[in-house]
């Protein structure tokens, strides 16, 4: 008993001294598991509802077209928004789009906030936010854990960590998908990060959110939202959303948009509400008092507004950080099931492991192959058995020789088929479209270790490591030999460069690539994906370059290419030359995310590929 009472007194002394000093105790270690820091702050738990006493008409998918006053959108975001058509919401993948923070606080439904505490220590592990509309499901970790690496998937809610600063809860969120600043066409890019400050006064909570978006904002956007606590749980929390075909018979390469300068609704909001058009066009200047002075000269204001409706200024390069860790090391990320992504040596590498040998998709640039082999060795106790090349490009095949040599394909050794393959028993078996082999052999000097097990137009399939693995040739996309690989049980699709998160598609027209084939290939992928909820989760995608995604990013990429195709096609029809098309900056709204002004694959070379594809469509019309 004496020991226990002494313990109580010591505990009281410990707690009180910590509070007197104004500091949380340093994190201590439990048995086996590190404990997070002690946190102490305002309790936000309860049921809440959005207060519409401000920004009343702007909740959820609302706001008039071209109602962007007070948003520090940059020129690229403005032309994106001007091109956006509300009909785009009929595109299947757009129908159940999730809500990103902080826009998710503008929904007219119910919100619940609660705390997750460790059942043993009662320490605060996380604060959870649930929003009825789109079933927003956010976890704000309070235990000091780090944010995931840049190549990890994004979600609509993102990854959030929090801390108390006095009586204010401050939440930092990264890994957010492309969403809305306002759901009338103003995008928030997937490079955006958000800081939210939650301030509670009685039954009201004010959220000051600051969005930093290097892609679509010219300066951080700060804005408040209000929640009011509900005295009783409303018992209305779900939002069942399944997409469907809303326009029967429509082709899957149709994406509604307005050509630059042809949005018919651009004046509607301004005229109806007697707002200067320059104000309605948004921009950082509209957030500050001086703007009222600027629009006193109505004629000059109108002229300035019109000048903002078309792309202007020099070409822009991507402002989104490259998620690839180019630090000389190979980084391993568990994607799903038995599939991992290895990144750091050129194109991404996928590895499936199990009781049989490792199944590898692409081998990287070959500069770090020893490290790649070493990392695969940590994942799989069996040697590499199969390698699939999604393309002949060196960033995908550069490591073929070393990875093949490090592997073995026991299925061929002593097999009836061993006579069919010159390299039987000499390492892993390399599989690829016949044109991958052909193109690699045509290189001067020929690239080492091309696929020896090749296919043409048919689906290639294997049952390996206890799951079905399908290889689908998608010719005339990036080249004439592209494939995607679907690990069915893990539900992971490896796309090669048909899809990347880092640049415009590297359409290699000279080697059989085409815009039309690229759009078909993306639609093929989308026909095989399923999201888990509101365009999050489900089938995961390992792109040729960049971070892990799911179908949302693939659909966005497809939509972008369709929109650019339609713009270029319209100018071709009007008789424009390639130079005129380049000058028109038809990709201005996407250059800040995918463009390049230097290097091997610039925006100009991409536009040339689009132009060439449309002027001289490829003969192959594979309908995959």
């Amino acid at each position: 008993m004496r020991t226990i009472t002494f313990g109580i007194a010591f505990f009281a002394l410990f707690v009180s001294s910590a509070i007197f000093l104004g500091q949380a105790p340093a994190p201590s270690l439990g048995i086996g598991t590190p404990l997070g820091p002690m946190v102490n702050g305002t309790d936000f738990s309860g049921s809440w509802r959005w207060v519409n006493h401000q920004d009343a008409p702007l909740f959820t998918a609302s706001g008039d077209i071209a109602d962007w006053g007070g948003i520090p959108l940059n020129d690229a975001a403005r032309v994106y928004a001007l091109s956006w058509s509300a009909s785009r919401q009929t595109v299947k993948q757009q129908q159940c789009m999730g809500y990103v923070p902080p826009y998710s606080w503008m929904a007219p439904g119910n919100y619940r906030i609660w705390e997750e505490r460790d059942p043993i220590t009662q320490r605060l592990v996380a604060i959870r936010f649930w929003g009825q509309i789109a079933q927003v499901d956010r976890t704000v970790y309070m235990d000091g854990r780090p944010h995931p690496p840049a190549y990890a998937p994004h979600t609509f809610s993102g990854f959030s960590t929090g801390k108390y600063e006095g009586n204010i809860l401050t939440v930092s969120t990264t890994h957010i998908k492309r969403g809305w600043i306002r759901a009338n066409g103003v995008p928030q890019s997937d490079a955006a990060t958000v800081t939210e400050h939650y301030i509670r006064h009685g039954d009201a909570t004010t959220i000051l959110a600051v969005v930093n978006d290097p892609v679509y904002l010219s300066e951080p956007m700060s804005k408040t939202s209000l929640l009011f606590r509900q005295p009783a749980d409303p018992d209305a929390w779900l939002y069942a959303c399944d997409d469907s075909e809303q326009i029967l018979g429509r082709k899957n390469d149709y994406v509604a948009s307005h050509l630059f300068g042809q949005n018919p609704y651009v004046r509607e909001y301004a005229d109806k509400n007697k707002v200067p058009l320059l104000g309605a066009m948004g921009g950082a200047e509209t957030m500050y008092p001086e703007f009222l002075t600027k629009v006193r000269d109505a004629a000059a204001s109108e002229t300035a507004a019109k000048a903002k409706m078309l792309p202007a200024g020099p070409a822009q390069a991507s402002r989104a950080p490259d998620p690839t860790p180019n630090d000389g090391n190979i980084h391993v990320f568990h994607v799903a099931g038995s599939v991992y992504m290895l990144t750091g040596d050129g194109a991404n590498i996928a590895v499936q492991v199990g009781p049989q040998g490792a199944f590898v998709v692409d081998t990287g640039a070959g500069k770090l192959s020893d490290k790649v082999v070493a990392e695969i060795g940590k994942l799989s106790s069996k040697p590499i058995q199969f390698i699939v090349n999604t393309s002949f490009h060196p960033e995908h095949t550069g490591g073929n020789a070393k990875l093949q040599a490090a592997g073995a394909d026991p299925s061929l050794t002593g097999s009836f088929f061993s006579n069919q393959f010159a390299d039987a028993g000499q390492g892993a078996t390399i599989i690829g479209h016949q044109n991958v082999q052909t193109r690699m052999q045509e290189l001067k000097p020929p690239a080492p270790a091309p696929p020896s097990d090749t296919y043409f137009e048919d689906r290639r399939r294997k049952y390996h490591n206890e799951e079905a693995v399908e290889m689908f040739p998608l010719p005339n996309a990036i080249t004439d030999g592209d494939s995607v690989v679907h690990f069915r049980r893990s539900d992971v699709i490896v796309t090669g460069d048909v899809f990347t998160t880092t640049q415009y598609p590297f359409i290699d027209v000279k080697n059989g690539g085409s815009l039309q084939g690229e759009i078909r290939a993306l639609n093929f992928i989308l026909d095989r994906t399923v999201y888990q909820h509101d365009e999050d989760g489900g089938t995961l995608i390992i792109p040729g370059h960049g971070r892990v995604t799911n179908e949302w990013e693939v659909a966005e990429y497809r939509d972008m290419l369709v929109i650019i195709r339609d713009r270029v096609q319209a100018m071709i029809k009007s008789g424009a030359t390639l130079d005129q098309i380049k000058s028109a900056r038809l990709t201005a709204d996407y250059d800040v995310r995918f463009g390049a002004t230097t290097g091997m694959w610039t925006t100009d070379t991409f536009v040339e590929a689009v132009y060439t594809s449309l002027k001289n469509p490829p003969e192959s019309a594979s309908t995959k």
Binding site: V15, N40, P57, I71, H197, T206, S222, T286, E290
Partner: protein, 255 residues
């Protein structure tokens, strides 16, 4: 439990509980001056960041009272708004009273008038709001009314906890300002009315971004049994300026 340990335990708990009741002095001690007790410094120049209610704050139109829980009488008054009549009556400042002024785009200069009085001057409309800590100092009846201020420190709430009362620590708190004795005016610059019966409750908080930007966050609740069907809650925020750049005093404008 041995007696010495029991005494130690009780002393610790008592001191803890006493501390958690907030700063401002214990029983019998004179409270420190409001300026000395401030949990944050909100003096300096601040500029409106007009990202909320942009349309209504920048370019308000007659009859546009979206979001305002006006009752029928309030709508009637708003629909009858005639700025020319206000000008003719020498009343161009009716939108610049306490319930409206903080949402008018402009700059705000906050200073301590004395140890117990915080002052906010506005360049838009050249208004002055005075927040009195302690006893009220004026009779009111004008556009800015009488504003009673207090630091609201995060406390433990009711009940008794043996340890670990939730709160934000000794530097945590907000400025609460309650304004009454107002003369009737407009909460927006388009004639949306509040009455002399209105009561305005404001909370001021300061947040600092990692990049060094400091924001003043204002949460306002307006209660007005004459023109509102329910209390109206809004927020606004302001960015801290290094100096008086942009300070541009201008008279009230009725339209």
């Amino acid at each position: 439990m041995s007696r010495p340990l029991l005494v130690l335990f009780v002393v610790l708990l008592a001191s803890l509980n006493g501390y958690a009741q907030g700063r401002g002095g214990g029983r019998g001690a004179a409270p420190p001056a409001a300026r000395a007790a401030a949990p944050f410094d909100m003096t300096g120049y601040w500029v409106s960041v007009v990202t909320e209610d942009w349309r209504w704050r920048m370019f308000p139109n007659k009859g546009d009272y979206a979001g305002v829980p006006l009752n029928a009488e309030g709508r009637k008054v708003a629909d009858a708004w005639d700025p020319a009549k206000d000008e003719a009556a020498g009343e161009p400042c009716k939108a610049y009273g306490a319930p409206g002024i903080m949402r008018i785009p402009g700059r705000f200069h906050i200073t301590w008038q004395d140890d117990q009085t915080l002052k906010i001057e506005t360049d838009a409309g050249k208004q002055t709001r005075v927040f009195h800590f302690g006893a009220a100092q004026a009779a009111g009846g004008d556009l800015q009314g009488v504003s009673k201020a207090e630091w609201e420190f995060t406390g433990p709430g009711l009940g008794f906890a043996i340890a670990g009362a939730r709160g934000g620590g000794p530097q945590s708190g907000s400025l609460k300002v309650t304004t009454t004795n107002l003369r009737s005016g407009y909460m927006r610059r388009n004639g949306v009315p509040y009455s002399a019966n209105a009561k305005l409750t404001e909370y001021y908080d300061v947040v600092k971004e990692a990049n060094g930007v400091t924001y003043l966050v204002l949460t306002s609740t307006l209660e007005d049994p004459t023109y509102l069907t329910q209390q109206m809650i809004t927020a606004a925020h302001f960015k801290k300026q290094a100096d008086a750049a942009g300070w541009n005093p201008a008279p009230c404008a009725a339209r």
